[in-house]
Symmetry: C2
Subunit: 91 residues, 2 copies
């Protein structure tokens, strides 16, 4: 993806920030059970999409970071999956 | 815990390293399913002990980091839980 495409896709994501070749968002939860349920649902989506984010899991928050190692940077898959995780969180 | 106690407990842990007020270990797995099963088993232990590590989850690895926020540093609970996660991994 070129910078123009990346900027365009970023516009359509809420709460995600770009850190070089990675896009990142932190989700917050009421308790550990909610956090872990989210982690597992995100893992399921990752499995289905065959695209695995880095997850940083604390007691009541989870940071999701997408990049495409095989592309050496951001790809459409990162933005598609970010939107799926947002939809999951909002559901 | 004082430095002598910490050093003593570190001796009995394999593969853990100390990073200031945190102890850290990275576990590696054959695939994403194994990784996620480990994450969930570790979450269960964390729930039972009421002591929650930070987990950094990738495709085939998980880094576990323990500290005791309420104690402002390392506590016996960190070392007890680290040993439990090691036992889980070895089981």
């Amino acid at each position: 993806m070129n910078e123009t495409e990346i900027a365009e896709r970023m516009k359509h994501l809420e709460g995600w920030s770009r850190d070089d070749e990675t896009i990142v968002k932190t989700y917050r939860f009421a308790n550990y059970h909610e956090t872990m349920a989210f982690v597992n649902a995100t893992a399921w989506i990752s499995h289905r999409a065959d695209h695995h984010p880095d997850l940083t899991v604390g007691y009541n928050q989870c940071t999701v970071a997408y990049t495409t190692h095989s592309a050496g940077g951001l790809s459409r898959k990162d933005f598609d999956c970010a939107a799926k995780v947002d939809a999951l969180f909002a559901s």
